[in-house]
Symmetry: C2
Subunit: 427 residues, 2 copies
């Protein structure tokens, strides 16, 4: 490390700390903002995106060109791209978040206690949320809108390859906040590509209350390792569907096909199919043809390969792999207990599904499997904030502490205890 590097890092840290202080101040104002003010800001930001369409596309074109020059692959370029449909999506997202009920101030379980006091819990913002994400510029709007609605200030650190796009989006956000009379520093976008910015953001517990990293395993592991503030992290999704010998095989076929082929590059796609040995010879050939038609490569255990001869052999590594691609590992297991053992050993705690018509087994699977979502006779693809009715999600947590599974507005809040007395003292 040269002296210049260190000086740069120090100046980046100083800059982040300044943003942190501004966020702390804004957090108080945004926490106190009433529902209609927050909704007005969301709608004003939507209107800004509409007005600034041309400049957004221009800024994004700069990023796309730089990306092509740097040799980004097609998938990354696709995620980086903004077009009219995606801007429409961001606008619609803002309007949807504005329509969600305001979680702040919601009071739960207010009850009288034998002492005469009345005790309950009130939902409150967390304070300042730091979000670190990679290429997709629309995350800037998703994250900003959820944090705003939940009364939090936000510091957003997007990928360096999307810097022009994110700055253009930030201009819209700032204008929208100003229009609604909210502090512009309620949402701040880090406008440096210095990697030290991430290091600074995750080590300022005095200014940042929680970090949400969204991106590849490398980013999330780094953040988890180095953070000095709590992290709501989504590590990866190695999701299973287990077809029980008491399954309705038509339902099983539909679910296994949907869970793998509805979309490939998503964390709630099935990566390993487990099949009870008693029905393997019946269901696997039908599924294999359907997968073949969709271009899905199968990697199977020995018993799978006896049934589907053209299937390649799965290695030990395959069972823990998150393919995010048209690849599926397949294992024939003795029964549900063996399937649950496989899931406990190789699953990532994201989403696990069973297909069965058996009442007792459905209850046992649901209570015993340790994952953020456990499903009976439904496709793993349903594990999603919109599908669950959260309205939107800032990520899917594979942690158990604080927020688990799809994280919406509620995951960005905390609850404080409230006590009403009338001169009550403790005896």
């Amino acid at each position: 490390m040269t002296a210049t590097d260190t000086a740069d890092q120090q100046s980046t840290r100083a800059k982040l700390e300044q943003m942190g202080r501004a966020a702390r101040t804004a957090a108080k104002q945004i926490a106190a903002a009433d529902t209609s003010t927050k909704n007005n800001a969301l709608k004003a930001i939507a209107a800004q995106l509409e007005t600034q369409r041309v400049s957004l596309l221009k800024a994004n074109a700069l990023d796309m060109q730089a990306g092509r020059e740097r040799g980004l692959d097609a998938a990354l370029l696709d995620r980086l791209e903004l077009n009219d449909a995606r801007i429409d999506g961001m606008i619609e997202g803002l309007v949807q978040v504005a329509e969600l009920p305001d979680p702040v101030g919601e009071v739960e379980d207010l009850r009288y206690r034998p002492s005469g006091i009345q005790v309950g819990k009130m939902r409150v913002p967390l304070g300042v949320v730091g979000i670190i994400y990679e290429s997709r510029p629309n995350v800037t709007i998703d994250a900003a809108s959820l944090c705003l609605k939940s009364g939090n200030a936000t510091i957003l650190r997007g990928g360096s390859e999307a810097l022009h796009s994110n700055k253009a989006i930030a201009t819209c956000i700032t204008a929208g906040l100003r229009e609604a009379g909210l502090p512009e520093t309620a949402v701040q976008v880090v406008d440096t590509t210095d990697r030290a910015a991430v290091g600074a953001l995750i080590t300022m517990p005095e200014y940042v209350d929680v970090i949400v990293p969204r991106g590849g395993t490398g980013l999330i592991e780094r953040v988890s390792r180095e953070a000095r503030v709590p992290v709501i992290k989504h590590l990866h999704g190695v999701c299973h569907v287990y077809i029980d010998d008491r399954a309705d095989l038509d339902k099983a076929f539909d679910i296994a096909l949907n869970a793998k082929t509805h979309r490939y590059g998503v964390c709630n796609a099935m990566e390993t199919l487990l099949v009870a040995e008693m029905v393997a010879a019946d269901i696997l050939p039908r599924l294999a043809s359907a997968y073949e038609e969709k271009g899905v490569e199968l990697r199977g255990c020995d018993r799978t390969r006896e049934i589907i001869p053209h299937c390649v052999a799965a290695t030990e590594d395959d069972w823990s792999e998150e393919y995010l691609a048209p690849v599926l590992s397949v294992r024939v297991v003795a029964d549900m207990e063996a399937a649950m053992d496989h899931i406990a050993c190789y699953g990532s705690g994201h989403t696990e599904a069973i297909v069965t018509q058996d009442y007792s087994r459905s209850r046992r699977f649901m209570s015993a499997v340790d994952a953020s979502s456990v499903m009976i006779n439904a496709s793993t693809r349903f594990a999603d904030g919109f599908e669950y009715g959260l309205g939107a999600e800032i990520g899917i947590s594979t942690d158990k502490i604080h927020a688990r599974g799809p994280v919406g507005l509620e995951g960005l809040t905390s609850q404080k205890w409230i006590v009403f007395g009338d001169g009550h003292i403790r005896q």
Copy 2:
């Protein structure tokens, strides 16, 4: 550090890892245990304590003697002591926890979604809970019983000065678990006084899901700094009562007296009294005599000292001090906003109370003050798991993430999403 130190530390780490693995295995069994099995274990442990009274007192006498020889102060010796009344308290605590509703498996918000799936949340144990505490041996039973009831395995690391007592209590716990047919390793007590045990316990994310440190600021800061697993921490309680100029001064008198003098060495005792200037001359002299009678030393701001001449001057440090003693700092403030500014600046986010008859101010104070408990016209001493109806508490969290305020059974659990379908696939 000598070579021997390092070898000792390595063997301590190896030992803790072995306990961790055993806890992980036990966690699965305890998570699946039904309510009556867990309750039977709690009652069997209570019966063991009753039977083993003499050996518990003998073991404790060894700790007390060693403590006296090491010159522990009276307060520490008092916390360390077991006597018949305290053993009765532990037995009663176990019975109370057995009577609490079982949180595990509780399903919330089960609703149909437009897609046809039915989505809800099921309460589940966290897994393995590590508890690090100082002298009081009764924490061993409190912590073990709450973790057991919430379906978690526990590793308990008590203070070295209580080692004999804790080992004797551990024998009762093990016997109780065995009697109920639960794995003995569901509750493990670390039986080494090596400080490296704490270092190992807080850096094994593969075996421990959350750490609850209970003790002095030094311990908690060390754990927070070094832990590689989530920490539910209780840092300190600098609690305020603000007497508004629209307060009923009789209620104010009772609450201010109770909040300070009901017990001194507790985190929910008031440490600073804030009084609106318009009523200061009326209420402060009355309170000052009452405090004087109880032997409470007052440290005041200049305006307080004009009203109570014998009051010593508070320094800047007094405003952030958790006295845990018959000492109270007093400040006269212009109004509620000034009181809230003082609280935001010096409070520790534990418990804050206002005494007022004003409707709008009570609403503003309750929503704007950022603390784990906010109270209107009630003594801060109510901030407690028993008073709030949690049945018991494993600690009071001053964090915002996961659990805030008194942490009972619910704070030792998480929720997973559950989905019921009938062949549903995502469109």
